[in-house]
């Protein structure tokens, strides 16, 4: 094989591996979320299918595959079909630029545990997350139903408003690292101080803004207004059934995993160990395990949040986004800029 073919092969394998790992994590997450939520509410949750109910996602998958796919009367067929596809594509695109571990040395080559180490990685994430809004707008509009239209409008307004705060919360971390490249931002958090040098401490305010804005961006409780069941039936995906519904759900979970992975990279030192001595075990760099552990903790936090807090009212949501988060993020940028200029 020529070197170009080898590079192409490695890239293809990496794409396939990351894609399937995320698919597997998605089905695991549907189970874990239902189980954990059940425990938080003194219930048992799904525990009939297989040991501890672990086969529940498989059963759900089979069920959804065999359901009838309904396209409502008067719906715009093209956009109705395209919306779930767009949702899943934008969800999976953003996992490409996150570094999941330090560079591997396999078969005498250096293989970074990342699909694309872009010069503009953070900006790429921002661009893709802004495209994700369209899937929801399309789904809401194409179904020709007032509940879906209202759900779609609400969620586009929400995602649009919180995207600004989300992007601004990253700026501090970017300034400290002096680079848009995500792997540079991870490396900039390293050092003998371990977790004391991670950005969630150095960029405390930025991290808090990210936490809130990211939760809103992926439409999780307490910001799940787009699908507020009591008011909008099921929001933008009311009319979807079968695998198209499953794809929309999948996109939501993958987005949640993406913001967890991005938060891990930008604020929790990515693949770095909390104590530098634990970075290698028996001479092997176990960075990707640290990454997985941190991402898992972030995902648990999302479920925990859902079991704890009630939903915001719409006017509170808008007020909070524009009048609290954006000024705080701006303040953080100014303070960080002053700090970077002085040191």
């Amino acid at each position: 094989m020529t070197p170009v073919q080898q590079e192409l092969l490695i890239a293809t394998v990496k794409v396939l591996v990351f894609f399937h790992v995320f698919l597997g994590l998605f089905s695991l997450m549907t189970y874990v979320e239902r189980r954990l939520l059940a425990f938080m509410q003194f219930r048992l949750g799904p525990n009939r299918t297989g040991p501890f109910g672990i086969l529940q996602p498989v059963a759900d998958g089979i069920k959804l595959f065999f359901k009838e796919e309904v396209v409502p009367e008067g719906a715009n067929k093209w956009l109705f079909v395209a919306a779930p596809a767009l949702a899943i594509v934008t969800a999976f695109l953003s996992i490409a630029v996150v570094p999941y571990g330090p560079t591997l040395h396999l078969f005498g080559r250096d293989i970074p545990l990342q699909i694309a180490d872009l010069d503009v990685g953070v900006l790429f994430l921002f661009a893709i997350s802004s495209l994700g809004v369209y899937a929801i707008v399309m789904a809401g509009w194409a179904a020709n139903n007032k509940y879906t239209l209202l759900g779609g409008l609400r969620s586009s307004a929400q995602m649009f408003s919180y995207e600004l705060a989300l992007g601004m919360s990253w700026v501090g971390a970017i300034m400290l690292a002096g680079s848009f490249r995500i792997s540079d931002i991870v490396v900039s958090q390293g050092g003998p101080w371990g977790m004391l040098h991670w950005n969630f401490l150095r960029q405390g305010l930025g991290f808090l803004v990210y936490l809130v804005a990211a939760t809103a961006e992926v439409n999780r409780t307490p910001f799940d207004l787009p699908e507020a069941e009591t008011e909008l039936v099921a929001g933008f995906h009311t009319e979807y059934s079968s695998m198209r519904f499953a794809l929309l759900q999948m996109a939501e979970y993958v987005n949640m995993m993406t913001v967890s992975a991005v938060g891990t990279s930008l604020f929790f030192g990515g693949w770095l160990a909390p104590v530098p001595a634990l970075q290698t075990v028996l001479g092997h760099d176990v960075g990707f395990l640290w990454f997985l552990a941190k991402m898992g903790a972030a995902l648990f936090f999302f479920i925990w949040l859902r079991g704890t807090v009630p939903r915001f009212r719409y006017d509170q949501l808008m007020h909070f986004g524009w009048k609290v988060l954006v000024p705080l993020a701006t303040l953080n940028i100014l303070a960080t800029a002053a700090w970077v200029a002085l040191t």
């Binding site: 956009l79 872009l118 010069d119 503009v120 900006l123 790429f124 921002f126 661009a127 893709i128 802004s130 495209l131 809004v133 369209y134 707008v137 399309m138 809401g140 509009w141 239209l149 779609g152 409008l153 586009s156 307004a157 649009f160 995207e163 848009f180």
Partner: protein, 165 residues
């Protein structure tokens, strides 16, 4: 042909095709979606030309921010299919043909210059270079003046939209 060239033609074709849909389509919502496709494929072309920064900005600013507002308004007003007005003045058509000719001449002259090899020299479009250029004395005042112009427009829009109390 290398992979880059093939991808360039694919995205170029998609950009031109979707741009034709934007103009030819009578349903404004379809036009808006087609415009988003055009902007995204243009961004891919920028990326292939070796300027990822401009490619990403294209998506963030145009596809991600401006078009969302367009769609938002289209959906809020629930705009229906555009109605064809019979006729359309001959003067309008003459102006359109004239402007089209100017555009063709412009593109032609640029292509001719490129064919002679006297086109624009290679531009270093990396993030750092663009940032330094933007904040260099040559562009700093223009850049800041544009920002103030946008801010003024924003304040004006808020002032107009505010309810009299």
């Amino acid at each position: 042909m290398t992979l880059d060239v093939i991808l360039f033609y694919v995205f170029g074709a998609v950009a031109v095709g979707s741009a034709l849909v934007v103009v030819g389509q009578r349903h404004p919502t379809y036009s808006a979606f087609a415009l988003i496709v055009t902007l995204c494929s243009l961004s891919a072309v920028f990326g292939l030309l070796g300027s990822p920064f401009i490619a990403v900005l294209q998506v963030v600013v145009y596809a991600g921010a401006i078009m969302v507002l367009f769609l938002f308004v289209l959906m809020l007003l629930n705009v229906k299919r555009e109605e064809r007005r019979p006729g359309g003045g001959g003067a309008v058509k003459a102006v359109a043909v004239g402007l089209g000719a100017v555009l063709v001449a412009q593109v032609g002259s640029v292509l001719a210059a490129a064919a002679r090899g006297s086109g624009a020299p290679g531009f270093n479009a990396s993030t750092g270079h663009v940032a330094r250029l933007l904040f260099s004395p040559a562009y700093l005042y223009v850049f800041e003046a544009t920002s103030i112009l946008i801010l003024a427009a924003l304040v004006g829009a808020v002032a107009l939209a505010r309810k009299e109390s």
